[in-house]
């Protein structure tokens, strides 16, 4: 998908991300070992379609992305534009800010008469980017997944899981390691708080 929808500049300034007000705090509480920033306003579209549906090929073509379905917990694409496996017939499509209308239109076209659903969830979750050499150590304090690189969780993996007491989508972006954590807006402050708390061991003076 190549079309970038123009983002309406004026109304854009009216938007607030759940953690927008805390950017300086995050920076202050980050350090060389581990850093936390919010990545607000990602385009997110929830796609439901049976993996055996003829629409899948059309969708993949329209998106220019494979829908990972042979194995669970995989991501195709890159941190800009990606399809995250969420379930046997469910994907989360992510893209830069403002792409939801085009993606939705493309998907609806591709789905045509096939069963499936698309829902814009761009404003449902925000993203936190956790990076730095100690970021896995930080996550291991809050999340019961096996995040060891040699085993199941490597760049290009994602999982819906619990982080502390909130549900989230954990996505590993690179080997550093860098993680992107998609969390529902109302839980974002909590997630940030538990992450910052866990980071303290590696960032405190």
């Amino acid at each position: 998908m190549t079309v970038v929808s123009p983002v309406d500049q004026e109304v854009d300034t009216l938007r607030r991300s759940p953690l927008g007000a805390r950017a300086t705090e995050f920076a202050a509480r980050s350090g060389p070992a581990v850093q936390l920033v919010e990545e607000p306003f990602l385009t997110q579209v929830d796609l439901r379609v049976h993996p055996g549906s003829p629409a899948v090929a059309r969708i993949e073509h329209a998106l220019g992305l494979a829908l990972p379905h042979h194995e669970p917990n995989l991501v195709s694409g890159d941190e800009d534009t990606a399809a995250l496996w969420l379930g046997p017939d469910e994907w989360l499509l992510t893209a830069p800010d403002g792409r939801a209308p085009t993606i939705l239109a493309a998907l609806d076209d591709a789905l045509s008469d096939s069963l499936g659903s698309t829902v814009d969830v761009s404003a449902n979750r925000t993203a936190l980017r956790l990076s730095g050499p100690m970021s896995r150590e930080v996550l291991e304090k809050l999340c019961s997944l096996d995040l060891h690189p040699r085993w199941s969780f490597t760049p290009g993996h994602c999982a819906q899981t619990l982080i502390g007491r909130t549900q989230a989508i954990l996505w590993q972006l690179d080997r550093e390691p860098t993680y992107r954590i998609l969390v529902r807006n109302s839980f974002a402050a909590y997630l940030a708080d538990v992450l910052l708390d866990a980071m303290q061991e590696f960032t405190a003076g």
């Binding site: 669970p72 379930g87 019961s144 999982a159 899981t161």
Partner: protein, 85 residues
């Protein structure tokens, strides 16, 4: 802490799941035709075996799918239930 195998996401900790009790209890075809006792049985009565139990779990913090497993209610050993035709 049980380790539960979600057929979709793989092995996850029990805390990601919700328990759903006995598996294979179908909603009656036509509830209106059941007498009160049969309806009560559907509503309230479930097997409660000591030993192997076919039961349901939902991967609520993960893929939100429901699935069945067989668990020994004395040892908590679990295995996937064969998918029934």
């Amino acid at each position: 802490m049980l380790l539960i195998h979600c057929p979709w996401c793989g092995d996850r900790d029990e805390t990601e799941f919700h328990y759903g009790g006995q598996a294979h209890v179908d909603f009656p075809e036509n509830p209106a035709e059941l007498d009160d006792a049969a309806w009560a049985e559907y509503l309230f009565v479930r097997d409660n075996p000591r030993g192997l139990f076919h039961e349901r779990w939902a991967h609520t913090a993960g893929c939100r799918r429901w699935f069945n497993v067989v668990r020994d209610t004395t040892t908590n050993e679990m295995r996937p239930e064969k998918v029934l035709p």
